[in-house]
Amino acid sequence: MEKDKQTAPTIIGLSPNVVKTKELINHVADTGLNIIICGESGVGKEVVAQNLYHRSPRKGKPFVKINCAALPEGLLESELFGFEQGAFTGAERRKRGKFELAHGGVLLLDEIGDMSLSLQAKLLHVLQSGEFSRLGSEKELKTDTWILAATNHELEEDIKNEKFREDLYYRLNIIKIYLSPLRERPEDIPVLIDYYLKKYSPRFRNNSLNPDYSLIEKLQEYHWPGNVRELQNVLKRILVLGNWEEIVDELTRSTYAKNDSTSDKASSKEPSVVSDILNSADGPLQNLESFSLKDIKRRALNRVEKEAISYVLDRTDWNRSKAAKILKISYKTLLYKISDLKIVPPKKF
């Protein structure tokens, strides 16, 4: 996704879900019909959006993305529709919104399930009429934008709970592309590993870095809460550390350790951060070359953060809003950390 805009990132895999996704993309990319792309975080929803764009007649026109979860409501509204000078305090000059910027091209509304109901109503109006106005202006502007929406929510559930408008859902859900979580398509894991190893490190085109079959099997059994993005991160770490066993063990161990620990402090049984890192550096000497203080620091910090967050979560019985308050971080940051640091709730939750 960080790639240049000239080519679409490749969709990797041979599972029925990936094959069907590619087929759908090829079939609908030229229709300009609204599309919802669903799936858990890290499965590659944006990659699908980029592929749709690159296969559409709108290729070369703007591809604009906005994350509806990252901004507070008022700010999201002004980002989407823009504003006139003096529309509100601080609006010192006119600003164009994403709908204007995406005119003729594609607007990807990421995390649409997190959009507030009042903004959903405004979005629905734009989708129905093809018109919108900047904040502080009554002039309706025409927009010709292909709307792609992505979400990790079950929108049907959100509709039942009155968190998502049914009429907006139907308008967006003209076409739906669902990406399965990685744990449901383990047959994609070897192909993904092969692809990303070659991509990240052309030096390793020889087979010396390729893992044993038994390690691949372990990775196929792992539940990948962070999906393909997590797999990418794991592979990047393997390229730095050059040690498959170490990292695969760490992944599987953290799952088991956290599943076993309820109130007793499993973390105290684990070696200290320093010895852990030193141990991992203690392996074959050539791996030391790939070590850096920066990397050790990051690993140490992750470890400390993970322990601190797990501790607070245990103490709050996994009440995540309470835990976020105690830690003095936002709820969203906490959720991100839980998934990024692979903190797993004890079985009883």
Binding site: L24, Y170, I175, K176, Y178
Partner: protein, 130 residues
């Protein structure tokens, strides 16, 4: 050529993700001497529509289906072949119905279907087409 077509049976494409509805419609229209091609998904239905060289006389599609909805099917068919009449059938609320008429469905019917009435509507649409 017209004379030949008079004797020829009409060719229908029916798309519905509900097996029972689909086989019911298939059986009904086959019995009435229509040539019926049916599909359980929007994507397969579109593929059939595109690969059929001689084209279909009329398309019947369900509206609420996974992946490619009936609304998408109607839009894509009407874009490629505006003269092909399309009937939308739905068992849901009014939202997809509004979208179906925006997508230029020729007729929208709600389930449960009265098959005889459906056939009358089909013949109406086919006669308008002629």
């Amino acid at each position: 050529m017209e004379g030949v077509e008079m004797n020829k049976s009409y060719k229908l494409l029916i798309i519905d993700d509900n097996k029972e509805t689909l086989s019911m419609l298939h059986a009904f229209f086959s019995k009435k001497n229509y040539e019926v091609v049916s599909s359980l998904s929007g994507l397969d239905g579109l593929k059939l529509f595109e690969s059929e060289k001689k084209g279909f006389d009329l398309v019947i599609t369900d509206l609420v289906m996974p992946n490619i909805s009936g609304v998408a099917v109607i839009s894509i068919i009407k874009k490629k072949n505006p003269d092909t009449p399309v009937i939308a059938i739905t068992g849901w609320g009014e939202h997809p119905e509004a979208l179906a008429s925006e997508a230029k469905a020729d007729l929208i019917l709600s389930k449960p279907l009265q098959l005889d009435e459906l056939e009358v509507s089909i013949l109406d649409l086919l006669s308008i087409k002629k």
